[in-house]
Symmetry: C2
Subunit: 184 residues, 2 copies
């Protein structure tokens, strides 16, 4: 596991920053009015990939997460780029972060983070029939790839580096799909 | 299902708003420097409750979510108030949103939303041995309570109002715990 990065400085973000907040005035159907805050959408949404190395093994990545200031173990993910389809974004991110391409990609679902105050959407894509292929990514350091058995998801839940709701949800949804209990 | 509220106005949030963004300068162990953005923590964290009406039935709530501008079906949740323990916050939110208290509360895990750019933490609490008890909440309209069988989680996954990764993750983790496969 790499040594975590050092925080050199922090400052309030300028109004032109990537992440932005707005206020919304609402009137409910019962006449009650109130003001909520929400994050504005940034870009075209995100894609999260469930890369299946074989029928039983998913590939996770260990990546530094500055929100919690430690390494987090979870599914590979990234932002969709302009002009890119969800599937193309999933294929590119896999090649950048995991070092594999996929011959079969299936959209499983679209997840939100906190729909009460976030507009962000994450498209979850199941990737099967993998082949080794590496694309250079924009990560500041290479990501460690960690294989995990889908039958052992419950052992992942107590792992100190596993906390992202979106990633846990996508793993269980993929398992339900592969067991024939859920279809998108 | 209630009629959704009407959006009266939106505006950029002032610098004093509840949700705030900062920039962070980082130096990775390989010497690479970069600047990330992240949301600042707002308050004491959140609590999400898995209220079990009986051994098989969980109680969900349908609540308006302005981030996605529709009603979302998921677990009850809310912010922890000053001076409140996680368990006390869980008990209060349940009584406000679901109309039940709980004689048994167990912390299952702590989830993050997007650890790469969010500091937020959500404590997931399993609530059992319920009894009817209603506290007035701060919701602009009463929430609809929807019972769901834990054995039927896979049918919830395709529901048009179910998208919150954190809620889906907590439901599967509770099911793994109740099946004896995961302990906090």
């Amino acid at each position: 596991m790499p040594k975590p990065p050092r925080i050199l400085a922090t400052r309030p973000a300028p109004a032109t920053s990537f992440l932005r907040i707005e206020q919304v005035d609402l009137e409910f159907s019962n006449g009650v009015r109130c003001t909520f805050e929400r994050m504005l959408p940034s870009g075209l949404g995100a894609v999260m990939i469930v890369p299946m190395l074989d029928a039983e093994t998913v590939l996770l990545v260990r990546e530094y997460a500055v929100g919690v200031e430690r390494y987090e173990l979870g599914l590979p993910k990234g932002r969709i780029e302009p002009g890119e389809s969800i599937e193309a974004g999933a294929g590119r991110e896999m090649q950048e972060e995991v070092g594999y391409g996929a011959r079969r990609l299936l959209r499983l679902t679209t997840l939100t983070l906190s729909p009460a105050y976030m507009t962000h959407r994450t498209h979850v894509v199941l990737a099967q029939d993998l082949y080794p292929r590496r694309l250079p990514g924009d990560e500041p350091e290479p990501l460690e790839v960690v294989p995990w058995k889908l039958a052992e998801l419950h052992t992942l839940l107590g792992h100190a580096e596993v906390s992202e709701g979106r990633s846990i949800a996508a793993l269980f949804m993929a398992r339900e799909h592969l067991a024939g209990r859920y279809s998108p």
